[in-house]
Subunit: 140 residues, 2 copies
DNA sequence: TTCCATGCAAAGTGTTTGCAATAAT
DNA sequence: ATTATTGCAAACACTTTGCATGGAA
């Protein structure tokens, strides 16, 4: 079992204010890919006085810590994914922009041929499967 | 040889105003991944009165036509890639955000296992290799 | 005429920042 | 006492939109 976001943060002795804890709690779970605004809205339900700036600051810190992944969709705001420690890809609905995590099974990662590297050193590969989710397929 | 952007557009009988032609010309080439602002700046060198709005409108039309690909980096403005007809991946520098095209050689595309599809119908796969470009590796 | 593309400026999103007040060490 | 975090509002970066003008079909 994976340790969850909040546990990981405590283990890193990250100073845990009420605001930060609430942001971390809002992000916990599977297939969670909220925008900053959505995080703010949900955090407010638990802690009405939390500010937008603090949400943005906190999200940026979590990303810097490597505990949350930032996703930049083609349109719309950035999304935040707490599933930072299990390598996975994303399934994105082109219609409603829903996002699902896809585990990386044994499938080999794509690789760049040496002749195409142009001197780059590659540290990571992002894979996004784009398509249509079942809900959007159902109502055309 | 690939037909270039401008030729493809003429073939589609896209109404070609001076503004649109200049935008298309600015985008022509290999490894071109300009932001809207950069397109505007370069278009202005040839056609000083072209407006930002027209550049944005034109870019959006080209994307809608499928003649240009839109790239959303994690930070910074969207980038526009005229290489829409040869399937390719991207090599992105995490430091300076330079982008290079990587041809898809015989390597198989990643696939989603049926059990992970969750009802999605997948139409496309985007692969981004993230890392550090030679220039940024040289000056740390 | 009728329609569409353009320029301009304003408005709209989404995100960051400066700063004083507050809380933690 | 010192340092870090917060809230607020303003600034900022990027993109879209409304509308009057002008050119093309």
């Amino acid at each position: 079992m994976e340790t969850d976001l909040l546990t990981r943060l405590r283990d890193r002795s990250w100073r845990l204010s009420p605001q930060r804890r609430v942001v971390a709690e809002v992000l916990a779970g599977e297939h969670v890919h909220l925008s900053a605004e959505q995080v703010h809205a949900r955090a407010r339900e638990r802690l009405p006085e939390i500010s937008r700036a603090t949400v943005y600051n906190t999200l940026n810190e979590l990303v810097a810590l490597g505990e949350v992944i930032e996703i930049a969709p083609t349109g719309g705001p950035r999304r935040y994914d707490p599933n930072a420690h299990a390598a996975h890809d994303h399934l994105v609905c082109d219609v409603c922009h829903a996002i699902r995590d896809v585990p990386r099974r044994g499938v080999p990662r794509p690789v760049v041929a040496d002749e195409d590297l142009a001197g780059y050193r590659v540290t990571d590969v992002d894979v996004v499967f784009r398509g249509v989710c079942p809900d959007c397929a159902a109502r055309p």
